[in-house]
């Protein structure tokens, strides 16, 4: 058994490939993927409801929204069962008794699911671009960057779902992850409310404390949303994308470290 970097790479790779294979052979996931592409394509119908000069805007806005939403849905639904399913079905009894660190198992599971998200994003992005081309809408200059940011958001949500799945049931993990995601999309609103001299946060010190705490412990999901920039033609720089990447990496590393801490101490009765 090799404890070297190469050995570790092999072990993480084995788990990642297995996780990817599982998803690609899972009928529920394939169904979800088809539904995701269908939703992107359905933006053509929705754009028909808009006034003619707004159709292009709706196609861009709704398309990015659909890609982002479905990627997050896939992250949560698959992320919350990543560990639970293996514990519940006792498949971990065979894996964890091999010469592999528990952190490597989690890293492999996470990488496998992130690879699934890359493929899903590619297919959904392709569908979105096709819709825009068919509808003769000029492709936004920063479409590719917007898709990368969408994937980063999904990666962050996946690491959060992985953390919850190390100690909670899939339903609870799903509720926790979705709850944190929703709160994360409201961070700028909370920040605005904290600056106001009137309103609930100004009136109640306890509420203010809660809001300040939330801003510190919940990642800001709006960092990854550039739909406004896309529609208004505001440039999304690579500098911004790299900043978002490190933001995602920092939070994901924190969630992953916590997941490893919990998972490493766990007994498999």
């Amino acid at each position: 058994m090799s404890g070297s970097f190469g050995g570790s790479f092999n072990r993480i790779g084995a788990i990642a490939i297995n996780t990817f294979t599982e998803a690609s052979r899972n009928r529920a996931f394939i169904g979800l993927g088809i539904a995701a592409i269908a939703l992107v394509v359905s933006s053509m119908a929705i754009s028909g409801l808009a006034v003619s000069d707004q159709r292009a805007r709706v196609l861009v806005d709704f398309g990015l929204f659909a890609v982002s939403l479905l990627l997050v849905v896939i992250s949560i639904t698959m992320g919350v069962i990543l560990v639970f399913k293996e514990v519940d079905r006792k498949t971990f009894y065979v894996v964890l008794t091999k010469p592999i660190r528990r952190a490597e198992v989690l890293a492999g599971k996470l990488l496998g699911l992130l690879s699934v998200l890359v493929v899903t994003l590619f297919l959904m992005g392709l569908a979105w671009v096709l819709v825009l081309v068919i509808r003769d809408v000029a492709l936004p200059a920063d479409l590719f960057k917007a898709l990368i940011l969408t994937w980063l958001q999904a990666a962050l949500v996946t690491s959060l779902a992985l953390l919850f799945s190390t100690f909670a049931s899939p339903i609870l993990s799903g509720v926790f992850t979705f709850g944190v995601f929703i709160v994360g999309t409201m961070i700028p609103v909370l920040q605005d409310l904290l600056t106001l001299r009137k309103g609930p946060l100004a009136a109640s010190p306890a509420m203010r404390f809660l809001a300040e705490g939330t801003i510190k412990v919940v990642p800001d999901m709006t960092v990854f949303n550039v739909s406004k920039e896309l529609i208004l033609g505001i440039p999304v720089t690579w500098h911004y994308v790299s900043g978002a990447f490190f933001y995602c990496l920092g939070w994901s590393a924190l969630f992953f470290a916590l997941a490893v801490l919990i998972f490493s101490r766990r007994d498999f009765n």
């Binding site: 058994m1 090799s2 404890g3 190469g6 050995g7 092999n10 072990r11 790779g13 084995a14 788990i15 490939i17 297995n18 294979t21 599982e22 052979r25 899972n26 079905r89 006792k90 498949t91 009894y93 065979v94 894996v95 964890l96 008794t97 091999k98 010469p99 592999i100 660190r101 007994d267 498999f268 009765n269």
Partner: protein, 315 residues
């Protein structure tokens, strides 16, 4: 290395999820396994066998005591790379085909692909799954899952093989094949530690056994030590006996029973065995066999687990 497995004063307590009540799954278990042995781990349901084996494999941490495997701690890299494990009622990734499953585990051991291919072909042949290569595991029967479980436990050519109920779910032919496989592993110098409820197989295969019940060791040793060299009685199988009543009257004969259409089984006290044998020969009867009367492993198992008296006649 003097011992491959050393379990010393192992204890494991759990707390129930709802009431947080303390449950003592294993109270005090100690035993040692030597290199090259086939070691049987016996006990009724709930005795603590699976809990002990999980602790040996690093799946759970002991509440007390120590466990040493191959000179190291359970779960350590260097240890687990030399161990093969089959859990009770194994579950595998059912969307994979058998060779895909073995490749996955082979990659974890960093076995080069060319070596892996050869090893997988050999293992599938050994466990009799060559014809099931194109089936996914969800289409496997319980016996087939047990076979692929044994194959994955051998993927790294381990020094120590730990098997929890490896004969469960197998038909008689499958059982024989696995027993032959375990015997061949022993002949290759490997150490095999396994639990089973099928006592005749343990009796046939094992060099030494440990019997546990309610979290304690009840007996440990070689079969000779546990079952004794004899119970003070001999078993004589005799052919051609027609006058059963006169034989029953011979001094030292404790019982006579028919064990086949032509063979009777006599249980005779050791002190009178020679005289009884002479009488049978003088009567022109055919002596099939003479052996020491031992208690059976089953009888010992039942008595040690509080199920009844130990001294029962063996067949």
């Amino acid at each position: 290395m003097e011992y491959i497995i050393e379990v010393e004063g192992f204890k494991k307590h759990f707390r129930t999820v709802m009431t947080q009540r303390k449950v003592e799954a294993v109270k005090d278990v100690s035993f040692k396994v030597k290199p090259g042995e086939i070691f049987g781990f016996l006990g009724p349901n709930g005795a603590g066998k699976t809990t002990t084996m999980k602790a040996m494999m690093g799946l759970i941490r002991p509440t007390g005591g120590t466990i040493r495997i191959l000179g190291g701690s359970p779960g350590q890299y260097a240890v687990m790379s030399r161990v093969g494990f089959l859990p009770e009622q194994p579950y595998f990734y059912d969307y994979l085909k058998p060779q895909e499953l073995l490749h996955t585990f082979g990659r974890i051991f960093s076995i080069p692909r060319s070596v892996r291919e050869k090893r997988i072909d050999e293992l599938l042949r050994v466990v009799g799954l060559e014809d099931a290569r194109n089936k996914t595991l969800r289409k496997f029967s319980k016996g087939m899952l047990q076979r692929i479980g044994i194959a994955q436990a051998l993927i790294n050519d381990p020094e120590l093989i730990v098997l929890d109920e490896p004969l469960s779910g197998l038909d008689p032919i499958g059982r024989k094949e696995v027993i032959d496989l375990l015997a061949s592993l022993k002949s290759q110098g490997k150490t095999v530690f396994f639990s089973s409820h099928i006592l005749s197989d343990i009796e046939r295969l094992c060099d030494r056994v440990v019997i546990i019940d309610k979290g304690f060791v009840k007996a440990e040793g070689t079969l000779e030590q546990l079952l004794g060299s004899g119970s003070g009685e001999k078993e004589i199988l005799v052919g051609g006996l027609k006058d059963v009543a006169s034989v029953e009257l011979l001094a030292g004969v404790k019982s006579v029973e028919v064990v086949g259409s032509l063979v009777h089984r006599l249980v005779v006290e050791n002190a009178q065995a020679d005289e009884v044998l002479m009488s049978l020969l003088r009567a022109g009867l055919h002596i099939v066999s003479v052996s020491d009367q031992r208690i059976s492993l089953e009888s010992l198992f039942i008595s040690q687990s509080g199920g009844g008296p130990a001294m029962e006649a063996t067949i």
